[in-house]
Symmetry: C2
Subunit: 180 residues, 2 copies
DNA sequence: TGATGATAGTGGCATATACCAGTTTCGTGA
DNA sequence: TCACGAAACTGGTATATGCCACTATCATCA
């Protein structure tokens, strides 16, 4: 095992000395949450700088991509707001708020379901699809640069690990620990 | 090499078929940025649920922890707003906004520098340090549960990879690709 | 010493994200 | 068919985060 970033000593909570030692040795990246946020902000900057020419923020481009993915999906629930929110691991209302500027700018439209009037589907307009494609071309530059720099295999392994963390199964298992 | 999440085929941008294939095969986690955001939102939920009893949001707890780290640091610039922002890979103004509620609630105070009146240092109040410690105890529960579930070595490797992505060196190398 | 450019931070605006309360619609069972 | 609970969204409020314009202060140099 690589010892540069070992796990927390068992007595970190009860021993101030051990805790201090852990912080000084590993700093911020000792916390999974902190490490994730730091990396996310950095990648947001780097990818965002590359794709800024499209006028889309990174979350907006991701959302448009999800919309296209949902449209191509065989699952009819994929494009509903609830389905999208679940896919993006996002709060439903947060998704609604995020969609607002995209609807305002004519990239996305909401289509009520004919059979269940509670349900709405989000759909890319032609203008939105064009914008998504524009953003995708820029995104690809950033993605390739990242892979070249970080290493293709390492990048794939990182994304694989992140997918596990994000998965429903992981969340369910984590929450089950609550009962113990 | 594990082939479940290989890198992008070189013609992904120019071949609609290849692009479609990539999306269908790997879905959202094919994009580093998306994978990071999904995982961050998930971990934010899981860690946040565990530590909600402290009344701190995850970013707030992280910020208080940085403040303690900066106070213990030998570097006098560590606790300045600019130093903190750099350490957290955050925009200076974003840090200022995030500090507002913590100052309002009496957890943090801003102390102007005597020699350079442009500079301000952020400092934990006793109340803030107590709140940080309270949050830390809860955080430790989440952190241990994560490590137990994800695997201690895998968790350490993940955090190590994220630290590389977040590093200044990585950002500088990535941006240098711009000139090529 | 005064002009000038750099640095630190603030405030405004916009998007990102979450929680909660409320509304509309649906499904189910008496 | 009607009451009632569940489901899907909406809107309000709060924090999270970033960009830009602006102010105050400092450092440098003619």
């Amino acid at each position: 095992m690589d010892e540069r970033v070992p796990t927390a000593p068992e007595d970190a909570a009860t021993s101030p000395a051990a805790e201090k030692w852990a912080w000084e040795k590993w700093g911020w990246d000792y916390c999974t949450n902190t490490a994730l946020r730091r990396a996310t902000r950095r990648i947001g900057q780097l990818y965002g700088d590359v794709s800024a020419a499209s006028g889309l923020t990174p979350p907006q481009h991701i959302l448009l991509s999800h919309l296209k993915l949902a449209a191509d999906s065989a699952d009819p629930a994929a494009a509903t707001l609830r389905g999208l929110a679940a896919a993006m691991i996002m709060d439903l209302s947060a998704l609604g708020h995020t969609l607002k500027p995209l609807i305002r700018d004519g990239y996305v439209e909401l289509v009520p379901d004919a059979r269940d009037r509670r349900v709405k589907r989000a759909r890319l307009t032609p203008k939105g699809e064009a914008k998504r494609a524009e953003g995708h071309a820029l995104w690809l530059v950033a993605q390739r640069r990242f892979d070249a720099l970080f290493g293709p295999e390492e990048a794939a392994a990182l994304r694989r690990a992140l997918a596990v963390v994000a998965s429903e199964e992981f969340a369910a298992a984590f929450r089950k620990g609550d009962a113990e």
